[in-house]
């Protein structure tokens, strides 16, 4: 017996799949399944988070609907996966944020933007808010650097703490009987697998999205989004180092490292999310967890808005629009940070942890 009906269904499917095994070359889910003969809740949550939703096993399956065995692994694991995000959320009281995630994220984002705008207006007079500021420290005329660093540092640390607690719960749930430790080799393998999205690949032929042709471009758009986000994050880190180590204050010239990184990342965050949304809207309804569309869309839109407001700020930073745009950008980024543990962002974290576990299992089973 399992905790939820969807885990019951996942168990049924894994029993079907384990007696077939035709899909074992497609991704990591099926080899991981073959290492087991029965499935605990934790095992199923592990497999659910290992699944990249490439859709190949559905298209290749002789038992997918309308067959009476009704085997739909991508959809079942997608629902179980989203359920698991809520189950591992910390603190428990916030698990409900996953229920109507699109609404929750939208409200928090709107509120955050509003607070920044009101804050900027309250602490600055009109001339400063709509003034033209250039040269080092221009942004900090609107909000002191230390206040900015403190606020965002705190939000970021909170997000990390909440994510660590979630990962802890997940690792515990799936960790037995492997134990709680991992090793450098498995970590490196998982970083490679996640970094190249090795399993968003249909076993080599490509992914499936709207029909039975492997024409999906989610992998490309995901790379643009993820590496765009990573570059923006790197830009922020470099700028913080500049500020504290070298006393060099933003804004920086267009050729300077934080701006180059941020611009490249921003371009990724503009193209990637738009592509992901387009693919999402085309996706065969049979493959998706329809109830969680809000969660997917909210996260993609937040990333897009981060890129959009950041790029707008870069382009218009020497005009009167800089003040309001800075408030908008900071509001979006702040809400992105504090909602990280309570939205689609966690998919990357749990999937990475599942990949670590998978790499570790394979090593222990003697695979290379």
């Amino acid at each position: 017996m399992h905790g939820t009906r969807i885990l019951e269904e996942a168990d049924r499917l894994m029993t079907v799949c384990n007696s077939c095994r035709y899909c074992e070359g497609l991704c990591a889910v099926f080899p991981a399944m073959e290492m087991r003969r029965s499935f605990s809740d934790g095992d199923l949550n592990y497999l659910a988070n290992l699944c990249h939703s490439c859709g190949a096993c559905y298209t290749d399956c002789q038992f997918s609907p309308p067959h009476e065995f009704n085997v739909n692994v991508p959809k079942t694991l997608a629902i179980a996966r989203a359920d698991s995000y809520a189950a591992y959320a910390w603190p428990r009281a916030f698990a409900g944020a996953f229920a109507r995630n699109g609404l929750v994220i939208s409200l928090i984002a709107a509120l955050s933007v509003a607070v920044f705008i009101f804050g900027f207006a309250a602490f600055n007079d009109r001339q400063v808010l709509f003034g033209i500021h250039t040269g080092p420290g221009a942004f900090y005329k609107l909000m002191p650097h230390n206040a900015m660093a403190l606020l965002f540092g705190a939000a970021f640390l909170y997000a990390i703490a909440a994510l660590v607690m979630g990962v802890r719960a997940f690792w515990r749930d799936i960790g037995e009987p492997i134990g709680m430790k991992t090793d450098a080799g498995s970590l490196l393998q998982a970083m490679r697998d996640a970094g190249e999205l090795r399993y968003l690949d249909g076993g080599g032929v490509g992914c499936f999205n709207e029909d039975d042709r492997p024409t999906d471009r989610r992998k490309l758009y995901h790379h643009l989004t993820f590496y765009g986000f990573a570059l923006c994050f790197a830009s922020t880190c470099v700028a913080t180092l500049y500020h504290y180590l070298f006393a060099r204050e933003a804004p920086y010239a267009w050729w300077d490292l934080p701006v180059v990184l941020g611009t490249l990342g921003g371009i990724g965050l503009l193209i990637g999310p738009v592509g992901l949304l387009a693919e999402r809207s085309k996706r065969d309804a049979a493959l998706v967890d329809g109830a969680r569309m809000g969660m997917d869309v909210a996260f993609i839109v937040m990333l897009f808005l981060t890129g959009l407001t950041g790029m707008a700020l870069l382009l218009l930073r020497e005009t009167a629009a800089m003040g309001p745009l800075l408030a908008l950008h900071l509001g979006i980024v702040f809400s992105l940070f504090i909602t990280m543990p309570y939205g689609k962002f966690v998919h990357g974290i749990y999937r990475f942890v599942a990949l670590v576990r998978y790499a570790r299992e394979r090593r222990m089973m003697g695979h290379t």
Partner: protein
């Protein structure tokens, strides 16, 4: 929408591996090609959708095959499993051609992978499809569509017009196109056997056929085979011969596919409804013997049998879709199975008493055997004495029938008078009986389909152009 009033160069009837290989090779030879698949799109491809590998000869190990499998070894295997009931010239031709098929199907978009977990004994001889048979089929359909092959689903062919061994036209009945006569210069019949046609099976098997389960779709009714045989085509093969395995008695009547199969026979004993053993469960390595168990069970009263084993071997074979039926004692197990408890206890006790000590190794013909028992279990015999006792009920699961159309090396159909047909070809299960008089070894059906499909398509295209 396809213009069905035109005359096609090549008409392919069927939609599985053989049909698609024929359609692709005919199209690549420059012919216009129409494929009529009787099943709806989801169920397209007949038994191909349930396959997982193909047996091809190769002289050296490859990325996915662990060692060479020479033409000679393939021929020896075929000779042994058919008991010599094969057309030597055709079979050797097929084996020779199979070498190139390994590459040819890859050119058509099919991808290979190493043998699946739990099938290590096939890793040298059989190439596995990445994603299974339906993935293989999807790749062939994509290639055919890209090449411009026209494909119609739900396409029931109600009649064939054949005069003096020459195909003229086929009558099509289809939900969208209605009833229409299809003309073509050449025909490739690749529509499989008649295993889903219970009435036809009953002509040879009697009421026993009611207890058969059909492993593939209900669309494999053999209607094209029947039309051809009624219109002067020479038959080949014993109509009672087929590929039949023991599958779980709880499986659905149709299309249960691979997952209802049981590979646990060698780890236990098999008894009939009287709790009596009836065949050597350890005769040979399982992949060489699994396909005789359907016929063996079919010959038992009520076409039912039970694989009996104990808790010591449950992890020795692949996990099963249907869980084993278990009980702490043999008598209770017999009760759950509806068997006579005393009879089952005696059968197991006699078996256990006959087991000689040996070193168990299921990957070779080991020395664990019985002595003084009839029938003997000649390998992998170990006592059944570790409760709980477990059982799988099994019935005959028919994969495909061997009665077919006789062909030559061009895959060209021969007429009753022995003359080659002017423009009719056959490939796949509909002509498997030329090569398989009886018996089976994993992956040969797909070899027959791809080799003769490719040849039939090429020859049909050449025929149509002359």
């Amino acid at each position: 929408m396809v213009d069905l009033t035109r005359k096609f160069d090549v008409l392919v009837i069927g939609g599985g591996n053989a049909a698609l290989c024929a359609a692709i090779s005919a199209r690549q030879s420059g012919a216009s090609v129409l494929v009529l698949e009787g099943a709806p799109k989801f169920y397209r491809g007949g038994n191909t959708r349930h396959t997982r590998n193909m047996r091809c000869a190769h002289d050296a190990a490859t990325d996915i095959l662990t060692g060479p499998y020479t033409e000679e070894e393939f021929w020896d295997d075929l000779l042994r499993l058919t008991g010599g009931q094969t057309d030597e010239e055709l079979a050797k031709f097929m084996i020779r051609e199979s070498k190139d098929i390994l590459n040819w199907v890859v050119e058509q978009g099919v991808r290979w992978q190493p043998s699946l977990g739990g099938t290590l004994s096939l890793g040298r001889t059989n190439s596995f499809f990445l994603g299974g048979g339906r993935a293989m089929l999807n790749a062939l359909y994509l290639t055919a569509e890209k090449l411009g092959v026209e494909i119609i689903y739900d396409a029931e062919v109600t009649d064939l017009k054949i005069e003096d061994g020459m195909f003229l036209s086929a009558n099509l009945k289809q939900p969208i196109n209605g009833a229409i006569e299809i003309r073509a210069s050449a025909l490739v019949a690749a529509a499989g056997g008649f295993e889903a046609n219970i009435e036809w099976l009953k002509e040879y098997w009697g009421d026993a056929a009611d207890n058969f389960l059909i492993r593939g779709t209900p669309y494999n009714r053999g209607s094209i085979l029947k039309m051809l045989l009624e219109k002067g085509v020479q038959d080949v093969g014993d109509p009672t011969q087929c590929h039949a395995v023991a599958i779980d008695a709880r499986a659905p009547k149709f299309d249960g596919g691979i997952i209802t199969r049981h590979d646990s026979v060698v780890f236990g004993i098999v008894v009939n409804k009287h709790a009596q053993r009836f065949y050597d469960e350890g005769e040979d390595i399982w992949p060489k013997r699994y396909a005789i168990w359907g016929r063996l069970v079919a010959a038992q009263p009520d076409q039912i049998a039970y694989i009996i084993f104990d808790s010591s071997v449950v992890t020795s074979f692949m996990p099963t879709l249907f869980p084993p039926i278990g009980a702490p004692t043999l008598a209770e197990l017999a009760g759950k199975l509806g068997l006579d408890p005393t009879a089952l206890e005696k059968t197991v006790a006699d078996f256990n008493a006959a087991v000689r000590p040996g070193t168990f190794d299921h990957t070779i013909l080991d020395d664990c055997r019985t002595e003084g028992l009839t029938p003997a279990k000649t390998h992998w015999a170990r006592k059944i004495d570790a409760p709980p006792y477990l059982a799988y009920p099994v019935r005959p699961g028919i994969t495909f029938t061997y009665l077919g159309t006789r062909v030559n090396k061009q895959s060209r159909i021969l007429m009753k008078d022995g003359k080659p047909s002017a423009n009719m070809f056959a490939a796949g299960e509909i002509m498997a009986g030329n090569v398989l008089g009886k018996g089976y070894a994993a992956g040969i059906g797909m070899t027959i389909g791809s080799v003769f499909g490719r040849v039939a398509g090429r020859e049909a295209a050449r025929n149509a152009k002359n």
